[in-house]
């Protein structure tokens, strides 16, 4: 499985998909967007920080594990750091596979694992 993991401090601009094989039949994209209300209060955005080398290593490990269970061809993972204003994308994930089943399963599990084990934190405000 080809994987690309990036952390960026700029707005996320997802690159156009470049399918590595003509056998790819499913391409799934997820965007996490910063919402305006946090516990009922309006916020300007969220501030994200990460322990980047460990976060990258954890994601590589998680993807290797999930890819064994749900064979996919490509995963692109991009997480924005620092201040992300309301309405902008904080997380972008693209998963491509031959059939939809593994891509849908891997995407769901990857996001659950991100929220449980990958050292990235957010707080309201700048």
């Amino acid at each position: 499985m080809k994987t690309r993991i990036e952390f960026t401090r700029s707005p996320i601009v997802p690159p156009a998909p470049e399918f590595s094989s003509s056998e790819i039949g499913a391409c799934l994209e997820f965007a996490g967007i910063v919402r305006e209300l946090e516990n009922g209060n309006k916020i300007p955005g969220l501030f994200y920080e990460a322990y980047e080398p460990m976060a990258t290593a954890q994601l590589e490990k998680i993807l290797a594990e999930l890819g064994t269970k749900n064979p996919c061809d490509e995963v692109l993972f991009v997480h924005r750091l620092d201040f992300v204003p309301v309405g902008e994308v904080s997380l972008f994930v693209r998963v491509c596979s031959r059939h939809r089943g593994p891509a849908l399963a891997l995407m769901g599990e990857l996001i659950e694992r991100l929220k449980a084990d990958v050292p990235v934190w957010k707080r309201a405000g700048k």
Binding site: Y48, M54, H79, L91, D117, P119, W121, R123
Partner: protein, 77 residues
Amino acid sequence: MKITVLTFAQTRTQLGFAEKSFECEPTETPREIFRRLAPHFDPGKTVRVAVNQEYADWDRPVGEATELALIPPVSGG
């Protein structure tokens, strides 16, 4: 030996530093190191510890590790 201690999110606020170099012994555990470094800090059950960028046991000696990090509950995405 010297070990670099890193803190993130709320643990950074609680301990008052982001990174600190600290003298320790290979036989010391992360719990013992933090007890000396910040006697009033209690990781409770929610703060995990990472040794050389891998989740580790609070009570296992750090050995020849060079980096120790406090990992409060994560919230990416």
